[in-house]
Subunit: 281 residues, 2 copies
């Protein structure tokens, strides 16, 4: 059973259908369910996500938020016991809470979770503070030029991802995040109703496989490029982020600050370069 | 000066441009900046949003989260004083923190903010708990049939919104939320990089104008329909939600539970009815 898809009855209206409306037909929806992420006995976050690759999502979230840094810090990832899931009694409920246990001696900065990520004491709440907060999370500047990717490789990514995205094809409801090598080979793809979750699942899988930093890769997302996605790419050391949609101002400013190559409107054999043009040939 | 748009240099690559790439041209981006929402001296939330209509955003957020219920509870909404904005010293920083002051005698349930919205003690973390949490916020069931809207009116909404969305036209980076009367007249439109912010700005404007509940309106969104957007529509008493994109499973289940009419894939003179078909003629 695929927990990512649900069948529901839908009435499809086209133009001025004659009344009464056509009878409902069965159609597919992307599933959205809450996932609780626990670090030991502490509840860290609840996100609305599409079930599937939940351990990767938990690991990726803790990694891109700067709480964890290496797979070696993790002792075990599993479904939270029923007592932690507030008395959850069946598989579905049990499958909505993940607990990450750390190895002995590993300390994490839980206070980071209490602090506001987008504020600094020096300049209050502003875009500049948000960018500085990324630096304070320990993101290094990316090396200036490598890798170099052909523009034809970028042009090919939307089609490659669409062909590899079976759930999206059937529901239209999922964002994709995909990892490519510089020659355009698709390495990994993850889907979710939330674009940040798709990215966390992707980066989490690589982090658990001890393949981070991803310094020789391109990340492609089927969504717009927000500040949050740029931040997650930087935390994973990804030098090139290519988005189907538009970037925001803060995404561009952050990319420029850290030497990330940011591409937007990647579709129909066109794209815009907002930062880091030297990596595109 | 329009704070919603920023001009940046962009290199536009089309097909296999001959090297070197075309020189940068000036292009427009949607601005993304953090906004802190304060209730008195307490920091409630920080959201990444597009500047503009920030007081409406703050009011709408507090309203759709179930913290505030009527405009009469609000004494004043203004930019946070510099001391609250952690020493913010210029207009831009000052313009990223909004403080809502309540009228004397108004009490709010701040503990609600500490509790996890998507969990209940009876069934832990699951979709059903998320739906029940909406009921516990005080959402009444919507009346079963009214209003009734012609399908031709729904077909016309994407075009009407696109024509009324000047920033999107120029940046491609903004979500829209629009309020329509049942005859298809556009009442109000708000834009933001975050779809939930666009909805909060829209509902906040109506709440501040003392026009909630919006029981004779259609809300149109240029995005997918997530659980969160259905929840916000219900908090405002909106009986019909029409989305350009796909709904999620939990959005459909929540709409069915509260008699909300949920329409998806509203584009190209077509749409799907997922719930509440009796309101469409």
């Amino acid at each position: 059973m695929n927990r990512s898809i649900l069948t529901v009855p839908v009435r499809k209206v086209e133009g001025d259908s004659p009344a009464p409306f056509p009878a409902p037909i069965q159609d597919l929806l992307a599933v959205e369910e809450p996932l609780e992420i626990r670090l030991g006995d502490k509840s860290i976050s609840i996100t609305m996500r599409t079930p599937g690759n939940d351990f990767e999502l938990a690991a990726g979230f803790l990694f891109t938020e700067g709480i964890l840094h290496h797979a070696a810090e993790i002792g075990e990832i599993g479904w939270s016991p029923a007592s932690h899931a507030n008395g959850g009694q069946n598989q579905r409920q049990l499958g909505n809470s993940v607990t990450v246990l750390l190895n002995p001696g590993v300390e994490v900065d839980l206070e980071r979770l209490e602090r506001h990520f987008y504020t600094t004491s020096s300049c209050g709440v502003c875009g500049k503070a948000s960018i500085e907060a990324v630096a304070m999370q320990g993101c290094p500047m990316l090396p200036r030029h490598a890798p170099v990717v052909q523009s034809s490789v970028i042009h090919g990514m939307p089609g490659t991802v669409r062909r590899a995205q079976p759930v999206f094809e059937r529901t239209g409801g999922l964002h994709a995040a995909a990892l490519f090598s510089p020659d355009g080979t698709l390495q990994l793809l993850r889907e979710d109703v939330g674009r940040h979750n798709a990215v966390d699942k992707l980066i989490g899988a690589e982090m658990l496989g001890e393949r981070t930093p991803l310094s020789n890769h391109v990340m492609f997302v089927s969504s717009r490029a927000s500040f949050e996605l740029v931040q997650k790419a930087l935390m994973a050391g990804i030098p090139i982020l290519a988005a189907v949609g538009a970037p925001s101002s803060l995404a561009v400013e952050t990319a420029q600050r850290f030497n990330l190559t940011l591409l937007g409107f990647v579709r129909d054999s066109r794209f815009n370069i907002y930062s880091g043009a030297s990596r595109i040939q």
